[in-house]
């Protein structure tokens, strides 16, 4: 078997406190992304999904750092790599798309120049060739009249066009891994639909892998082949999207699926998950979901349950994962 494009092992992210106990936000996380795979990371706010993505891109906020663990990209260890070498990977190898394109773009530089900057630096293109590539990338993302739009400033474009500019910028150097942090959350449904199609199409054309962070289960279903569900800094379930949706084996995944309105099942009751996510500073021992879980038994509060493979390619971190929903109508 070929080695995965990205391999994250026992990654722990948090705030280091020289005096006292470190605050842990992402706890002992492991997953792999294969070449060409579209991998979704789903979770609610505070689950650590965006921080995981930012750790891969070396964009953790000040004060937050990788405490232990490893991130290997194409066999190369990224944790502890010197910053200049790390920065050289960003663009030609790994690129990132952010949620809010207005804050991610430079407001005082024309968008064409912003897209051309990467190819000039990393692909060594001349100013003219880089601009030609920028316009070509803009056309590929479906921006009408790219020659004129390349001269626009970000504020002159709509949200959908700005996000297309972000995609054009991210893909301009031909990265092998595209990190997306809720790229369509700020967009209207019709525009979201268009942008997701463009993203999928371009990734399929270039063979790039996708790491897609979102809170929207339906978007994951349409965009990704595999997913990991995160809760309080842990991956609680992972597998093929269709397997996990059809047969969830972790009570949290089941809770998420039951609480989200499904357009195809308008008559279904929405069942909210009782309680609140745990406070990061006062994390319960054992399974972090246990206080909100209807199936919790005493053993759940003692130690974090191990991740168990419940079916080929489908794993869940619940001690009852084999039997939990037996006899419960899905």
């Amino acid at each position: 078997m070929t080695q995965p494009l990205l391999s994250v092992k026992s990654l722990t992210i948090g705030v280091r406190r020289p005096k006292g106990v470190d605050t842990i936000i992402v706890d002992d996380l492991s997953f792999e992304i294969q070449r060409g795979e579209r991998f979704g990371i789903v979770g609610e706010s505070g689950s650590g999904k965006s921080l995981t993505l930012r750790a891969i891109a070396d964009l953790l906020p000040a004060g937050v750092e990788i405490l232990t663990g490893s991130i290997r990209y194409d066999g190369v260890e990224l944790v502890g790599m010197p910053t200049p070498a790390r920065r050289r990977l960003m663009g030609p190898e790994i690129a990132m798309i952010f949620q809010e394109p207005m804050t991610a773009l430079n407001p005082v530089i024309r968008v064409g120049e912003q897209i051309a900057e990467g190819p000039r630096r990393y692909l060594g293109l001349s100013k003219r060739d880089a601009m030609k590539l920028a316009i070509e990338m803009m056309a590929k993302t479906g921006i009408p009249d790219p020659v004129r739009r390349a001269r626009a400033y970000p504020h002159e474009l709509s949200g959908g066009l700005r996000q297309r500019i972000m995609i054009a910028m991210a893909l301009s150097c031909g990265p092998k891994l595209l990190l997306c942090d809720e790229p369509t959350t700020a967009l209207d449904v019709t525009v979201q639909h268009q942008v997701l199609r463009v993203l999928e199409q371009l990734c399929a054309d270039s063979g790039a892998s996708l790491a897609f962070v979102t809170h929207d289960l339906a978007v994951v279903n349409q965009t990704c082949s595999d997913l990991a569900v995160m809760y309080a800094g842990h991956i609680v379930e992972s597998g093929r999207v269709k397997d996990v949706f059809r047969d969830p084996r972790h009570p949290y995944t089941k809770g998420l699926l039951d609480s989200a309105p499904d357009f195809d099942q308008p008559e279904r009751e929405l069942v909210p998950i009782p309680g609140f996510p745990p406070n990061l500073a006062a994390r319960p021992s054992g399974c972090p979901f246990a206080p909100r879980c209807a199936f919790a038994v005493e053993a759940c509060t003692v130690a974090m349950p191990p991740t168990v493979v419940v079916a080929p390619g489908h794993a869940a971190a619940c001690i009852e994962s084999q039997s939990i929903f037996e006899g419960v109508a899905a």
Binding site: V189, T190, L256, A260, D262, P272
Partner: protein, 345 residues
């Protein structure tokens, strides 16, 4: 005979004018794009005890309409009737009490320096809802109504999560005993698992207090779940109104169909790639001639570029602003939904 609607608007328009320099005003002709019509002739009614959803893309005028209904801004022209009586342009304390608003972002809509108890007390006394001695009991009743405990009275907004803050914002709106609630995207800032609890709360308020609720939203799955009727807005106009199940099973405006087709779906089988809306909504500074949807409409004909259609009835309680409404082919997604609905029924 149905009861008179609790709230009715007719031919509401709202224009905004750009500030322009004298020179540009002199050099430009009258038709220069300096005025924006956020609302361009909106007719809508909210019936007693119903949840009416208002959906549309950003810039369609949903929030402007909500603001006009709650009295936050005045329309440029048009009528606004409350229980069949015209609503004065400048509302007195009693008139403004009757229509209350819940905002999208519970992090910015609550004053961080006022405790929950003080916030409710101020409203209850200002509007003389209860005598001073009963303020505390009434505040506790309001908190219980939205699913919070008495100890929340002493707390400040920062001590609560997003979902709890939205409950406080709802309690604040309910404190003055309104009969209409205008909710502007009240769940879109919340996590999925919390969303469901707030949606349940709206449904129970409608059921138990008989509130009429206008629910502004962009998530059609949420709308389908909660509301009895849906109004679809596009570029300052209502383009289709119908009961929820009718609208989703038999959409009679191409824009509604495009919206339905764009919804991300939970089951892989129902992914539809048939009808993808190209382009983005045109600028409200420059509304297309004829039907405002014609540049993006796959069914548009010459007649659509020439006439600007109004909202016409297509079935009982179902209106569409498409001149070809009767000719549109059956909608495939709609058919698959009604099939699953029959199967589950």
């Amino acid at each position: 005979m149905m009861d008179a609607p609790v709230l009715r608007v007719a031919a509401i328009t709202k224009s905004y004018h750009l500030q322009t320099s004298l020179a540009s005003r002199l050099s430009r002709n009258e038709n220069g794009h300096t005025s924006l019509r956020a609302l361009d002739g909106v007719d809508l009614q909210l019936n007693k005890g119903e949840i009416l959803a208002l959906v549309g893309e950003s810039g369609s005028g949903k929030s402007t309409l909500a603001k006009i209904l709650v009295g936050g801004t005045t329309p440029t022209s048009g009528e606004l009737e409350y229980h069949g009586e015209p609503m004065p342009a400048h509302r007195d304390k009693d008139a403004s009490r009757r229509i209350q608003m819940v905002f999208q972002d519970p992090y910015s809509s609550l004053n961080p320096r006022i405790s929950v108890g003080a916030m409710l007390k101020e409203l209850l006394l200002l509007h003389k809802i209860v005598p001073r001695g009963e303020v505390r009991a009434e505040s506790v009743r309001l908190l219980n109504l939205v699913g919070l405990e008495e100890d929340a009275l002493q707390a400040y907004p920062s001590q609560f999560s997003g979902g709890q803050r939205q409950r406080i914002a709802i309690a604040r709106a309910l404190a003055v005993r309104p009969d209409i609630l205008i909710a502007d995207e009240p769940v879109s800032a919340l996590d999925v698992s919390v969303q469901a609890t707030i949606l349940d709360l709206f449904a129970s308020l409608q059921r138990e207090l008989g509130l009429s609720i206008l629910f502004v939203a962009h998530n059609l799955a949420v709308v389908q779940h909660l509301s009895q009727r849906v109004a679809v807005m596009y570029l300052g106009r209502i383009v289709e109104v119908a009961e929820t199940s009718e609208l989703f099973s038999n959409p009679r405006h191409p824009y509604t169909r495009a919206l339905i087709d764009s919804i991300p779906r939970m089951t892989a089988e129902s992914v539809n790639e048939e009808f993808v809306l190209e382009g983005e909504p045109p600028s409200p500074f420059n509304v297309p001639a004829g039907c405002r949807f014609n540049p993006r409409c796959p069914y548009a004909k010459d007649v659509c570029r020439a006439t600007d259609p109004g909202l016409e009835p297509v079935a009982a309680g179902h209106q569409s602003a498409c001149i070809r409404a009767a000719e549109l082919p059956d909608h495939s997604i709609a058919l698959s939904i009604s099939a699953t609905r029959k199967a589950t029924a």
